[in-house]
Amino acid sequence: MPIKKNELEELIKAALPDAQIELKDLAGDEDHWQATVISAKFAGKSRIEQHKMVQEAVKSRNIHALSIKTVVRES
């Protein structure tokens, strides 16, 4: 299901309030997104755990394709 950029951003922000988020609408259909998420909350977690945190945040919306890149923000 398509989702607006600001809605997607809010979902991720709700779970990771400190996150710096960059969203790219890959196909121009609001249904194939690429998200780069930078957060201090990823510290000490494996990449799989980091991705799961983002997946979990947006799970309520059935996004067709969400490509994720996570970056740990150094504090």
Binding site: R47, I48, H51, K52, Q55, S67
Partner: protein, 108 residues
């Protein structure tokens, strides 16, 4: 819910093969861009790996998602460890981590 039988089948495959990719399609004919991307990375690394085509079996297709608690396919396992899907494998390939891991496990 995954039945015990499906769970055991998945586990036995992962235990048997050092490098195993659950994907949509086959080595000869990947049926999804994300699966094709991971396949291409593995083929470029000259590593022996087993492929399970989840499109052949709907129970495996659902089961593998519960097994790993990961919502998407493809899924790559190396020495019984879940590595990730397309995004993670691509990132690890780009920064050399994937090759390092395979070398460390004496798989290439």
């Amino acid at each position: 819910m995954v039945t015990n039988e499906i769970y055991e089948r998945i586990k036995s495959d992962i235990d048997t093969y050092d490098v195993i990719l659950f994907m949509k399609g086959t080595k000869q004919m990947p049926m999804c861009g994300f699966s094709a991307a991971v396949l291409q990375i593995l083929q470029g690394l000259d590593v022996d790996f087993k492929v399970v085509n989840v499109l052949d079996d709907d129970e495996i297709r659902q089961g593998i998602k519960e097994f790993s608690d990961w919502p998407t396919i493809p899924q790559l396992y190396i020495k019984q460890q879940f590595i990730g899907g397309c995004d993670i494998v691509r990132e690890m390939h780009e920064n050399g981590e994937l090759e390092d891991l395979l070398r460390e496990k004496h798989l290439i």
